[in-house]
Symmetry: C2
Subunit: 253 residues, 2 copies
């Protein structure tokens, strides 16, 4: 009878740690404040650094913390709402969107993209690269695939590459009548190039938004946009202009 049943369902240490830290963040820390370093925190809680890190990872995944190598761990501001589906039936590049065209080249798209575009396997398409900045922070990187058939001939255009050419492709796209649009959101991890644009390490969690633009009964363009999952809350508004609160709901019981 010497055994005292302390925990019939023992909670993992990192899980308990996460809870404790989460409450501390709510009550004892301000946004932007720097936490003690990982070695000190681990010692303070009497756990190995790896265990402490497991808790920090979860909190970072939930957007509560921000960790930067060589700097430290800071308390993250609430996620920013980023409109993804508000503007009904708008082409990418339409006036007022906050995307910044970076470049455009001709590429053979990956097979999965070619399948959606109904282009041949080796057919080149315009690949427009854009980035999105919100509140002074990079939040997304986009690859926009535009089949040559969706735009007028651009081979003789004066801008061979760069932002000017990207704008030219987008401008041509506006000439088509947009009939519809479908998006899908899924979890992914940042490729090395995206990570660099987003100021994160490769493998950082991202929300991948794939949007198919439909015109003339076919897929006129395909956008693959990679959003920082730690800082962004993607908003899809269907309502008739009702205001969106900032930071509506933290997940709670």
């Amino acid at each position: 009878m010497g055994t005292t049943q302390l925990e019939s369902v023992p909670e993992p240490k990192y899980w308990h740690l996460k809870t404790v830290l989460s409450e501390a963040l709510d009550s004892e820390f301000a946004v932007g404040e720097i936490l003690p370093n990982e070695r000190d925190l681990a010692a303070r809680f009497g756990v190995a650094r790896a265990t402490l890190r497991q808790a920090l990872e979860q909190l970072e995944l939930e957007g509560r913390l921000q960790r930067r190598r060589g700097v430290g761990t800071t308390v993250a501001p609430p996620r920013m709402g980023v409109a993804v589906g508000t503007e009904q039936h708008i082409w990418p590049g339409a006036a007022g969107d906050d995307w910044q065209p970076a470049d455009s080249t001709l590429e053979v798209p990956p097979a999965s993209v070619a399948g959606v575009l109904d282009t041949g396997a080796d057919e080149t398409v315009h690949l427009v690269r854009r980035s999105r900045v919100s509140h002074g922070q990079p939040v997304a990187a986009e690859l926009l695939y535009v089949p040559a058939s969706s735009v007028r001939d651009l081979s003789a255009i004066d801008a061979p590459a760069g932002a000017a050419r990207a704008r030219a492709v987008l401008r041509e796209l506006q000439r088509l009548e947009l009939e519809g649009r479908e998006s899908a959101v899924e979890l992914g991890s940042a490729r090395a190039d995206d990570a660099k644009q987003l100021d994160r390490l490769p493998g950082a969690p991202v929300l991948v938004v794939t949007t198919r633009y439909v015109a003339q009964g076919r897929t006129a363009a395909l956008s693959v946009a990679t959003y920082r999952a730690d800082t962004c809350r993607l908003t899809f508004g269907d309502s008739g202009g009702v205001e969106i609160h900032e930071g509506p709901a933290r997940q709670a019981s």
Copy 2:
């Protein structure tokens, strides 16, 4: 001059491992197939088990693998598309949705929810719990907050709790004219109860979809739905009935 510059930018081992494994999954494994166990894999690649696990974690995050304690690691099928915003202006519980009402109780909502609902801090609301099954697998758990003011008095209803009461609340909701709807998607980690419903471990990555239903100029209901991030791709369709492909785009260069 004895130093040979093998890698100017050395790639982390787990990152390289992930790439190798990912290619092996594409070419040498079928969906559902069981991989060698972690100790064997680690030995085969000459790394510590923790490093191997870091690679597996990423692949699981991307929906390529499924790991189950006591069973093993299997190759996951492509993510299933789950419609989240297709049906325009539909109340939850309307005919044809594939949600299954589980329960309904009266609760004091968390402050963040109360704020969106414009209810008093201590005011109780109906809390309808529902779960969503797709392709025979649980994919989402929902908490639907319905202020008493959105439905007729249910205090005298014959069903004190359970699915019957949940259906009664949803039925009452249909009586209002739905004016609009806004959704937001963000990354989260599963709470213990959600994890159980979704057949995952606590902390598993989830996509949290928060939807505000607007009627009579106010927020008539608020839904917080938790989707399995590993198995689901959330689709938001704006197009006029254009078919959605299954498995459109894997992220690629």
